[in-house]
Symmetry: C2
Subunit: 345 residues, 2 copies
DNA sequence: AAAACAACAGTGAACGTTCACAGTTTGAAA
DNA sequence: TTTCAAACTGTGAACGTTCACTGTTGTTTT
């Protein structure tokens, strides 16, 4: 019959060997229930014997579904290309796992927003949807996100959860998480708690953490001192210089809540240079629980985001959107990991 | 003409608008030189206006080339899923960049070797070739690798470079790199240098580093003491316990060369607990230059692998193989990064 | 006993490209 | 002028699936 001398077998070859029509092979392997158990098994066996695999391109072309999603990073570009924020790497692991569990393939790209992502990925039918991952001032991307949504691009974003942005968003409940840190420090008897990290609305995640801290203080009857907040992006250097500014400001403080672990690590270096001991003089709490957090001296107390769950929820939300049912934004709770940097023994 | 009510435009729509035939559109956008400059520009403009993108699936199906490669990790599974070896994450960044530069898409998977990779990726035409990344006892995979090669799967592997394994291999010159570490420690006046890491042939990378150390010692007229080698896989815990064993063995040593930074970090913890100071009592050199290496106290001297180059070379080698021209294995030189853990000021 | 319905399998077309080849025009060489 | 190749563009088919129907059984209902 229609067998060709080419190497790779096609569904026609399987069909011929099984004595059925080619579409039946397709149905059988796809698990369509309109194929009898008997012929399905036979077909599967033959497919295995002949080392046959469904051609992904043909399948995607015909069905208009690639079963692939694209993971895009839009982190503020760091000078050192290879230095990716460890938190996102953990997210990457989690998302990889979640997609694999759903039988999806995962494309990744670190390209920046200037590129036309929807064109490159979804419009070209490479992927059925996009997951966006990134810190930074994402407000500049909001318009773009809205545009994507309007064009029918399916997007799930990790980040600050707010109702005003389009597309599905999944993120840690930063306010609750910030409150955790604040409550912990208050419990440790700290009263003058500094915050290192941008706290304005351009950085809604950091902003939420700050608000959580403030509200925890308020609950304890302490008024937050706005002069103890110092801007910092999420790098070790920025943490270092923010802590320097804090120290040089001459203001009194007995604790630091850093908006990220990298900031915290930079701050610890600054404190060490200034001769302030951790946790005796200054208790410190970070955010993210990156691997390095447990390796500092003393080990860093931090707020862990539920990364494992995050990947699942992102993928779940994206799939829902692709299939037409929209899910509401999801907030995941943070969890406090107490280590040596915040408790005096 | 053949325009459909569907949303996405096809090359037919472009062709109609441009007044040419559909294949001409395909040729023009693909950069085929047999289309006149004038019509090409016109077609490109119209394509831009109509927001047209070439359908990846149709293109791949017809041309039998997906312009996609799959990156597969076969690291020894860690209990904690989300904890990926930082070194590989850096490699991931580098490979992402290299593929993007070549206009390739990158699929990634952390699944383990048990799965039929070639079936899942290359045979199904998802990808044109595979890049394999992983530490660990890869000898168990060698047979599998050979099989893949025989089946016509295109594979480039990162790891120990030896001529006996099939497929293209790219890796750091571990012997040279180990020698760098050894020479450095000798220069610092160290004589009794311990090695932490598996040194047998099942771990060819660690083994190469050990051989490099031994040869550097030999060049300096020092005989290596085999009793100072202690097994360790590349985790912080294993580094810690290997260092414990070393200390408890009662043997004298004034330096440690750890086969990886994680091992080194674990070893530093063990040394601290035992009251030995770094670098005064014990100089220590790691391997990989992971981000955490610069954050330890003292900062860790280490051997950096040329990760940026590694990604390029891997992709280059894989493409060559796909296109039928086989490249020889490539060794990349390591580079010593001197920090505080190995020099007494 | 006829009609109606599952359950299953086959037929032809369609998805949107790229490929191989066959035309057409143009300008230069004979 | 005639000839021929180069430079372009068009035609028809092919890549390997999945989709929408149609057809065939065998079983159940009225």
């Amino acid at each position: 019959m229609g067998r060709k001398p080419t190497g790779r077998p096609t569904s026609f070859d399987i069909a011929y060997a099984a004595g059925v029509s080619q579409p039946t092979v397709s149905r059988a392997l796809r698990g369509d229930r309109s194929v009898s158990e008997k012929t399905r098994e036979k077909i599967k066996q033959i497919a295995r014997d002949l080392n046959y695999t469904v051609d992904k391109n043909a399948s995607s072309l015909r069905s208009q579904r690639s079963n692939t999603i694209a993971l895009l990073f839009f982190e503020d570009p760091t000078p050192d290309e290879s230095m990716i924020n460890p938190f996102f790497l953990a997210m990457l692991g989690s998302i990889t796992k979640a997609t694999a569990d759903e039988g999806l393939d995962l494309l990744i790209s670190f390209q920046r927003m200037e590129d036309d992502w929807h064109v490159r990925y979804q419009d070209s039918h490479r992927a059925d949807g996009l997951i966006l991952l990134g810190y930074g001032d994402y407000t500049q991307y909001r318009e773009r996100m809205d545009q994507l949504s309007r064009q029918g691009t399916h997007v799930a974003r990790w980040g600050s959860v707010s109702s005003d942005s389009s597309g599905v968003t999944v993120g840690t409940d930063n306010v609750q998480a910030g409150r955790l840190a604040g409550e912990h420090l208050v419990e440790q008897g700290r009263r003058k708690i500094a915050f290192l990290g941008h706290a304005d609305e351009h950085y809604p995640e950091f902003n939420g953490r700050y608000r959580g801290l403030v509200s925890a203080l308020a609950d304890a009857g302490i008024e937050a001192d706005e002069g103890l907040q110092f801007d910092a992006l999420t790098t070790e250097e920025e943490g270092f210089s923010a802590a320097r500014s804090l120290i040089e400001s001459g203001r009194e403080f007995d604790a630091i809540f850093a908006a990220s672990d990298l900031i915290a690590i930079g701050a610890m270096r600054a404190l060490a240079e200034a001769g302030r001991s951790v946790p005796e003089d200054v208790a410190i709490v970070g955010f993210d629980d990156i691997p390095a957090a447990s390796m500092t001296t003393p080990p860093l107390t931090t707020v862990m985001q539920d990364i494992k769950r995050a990947g699942q929820v992102l993928v779940e939300a994206l799939l829902a959107q692709i299939e037409g049912r929209d899910l509401p934004p999801r907030k995941l709770p943070g969890k406090l990991i107490v280590r040596g940097s915040s408790v005096t023994s």
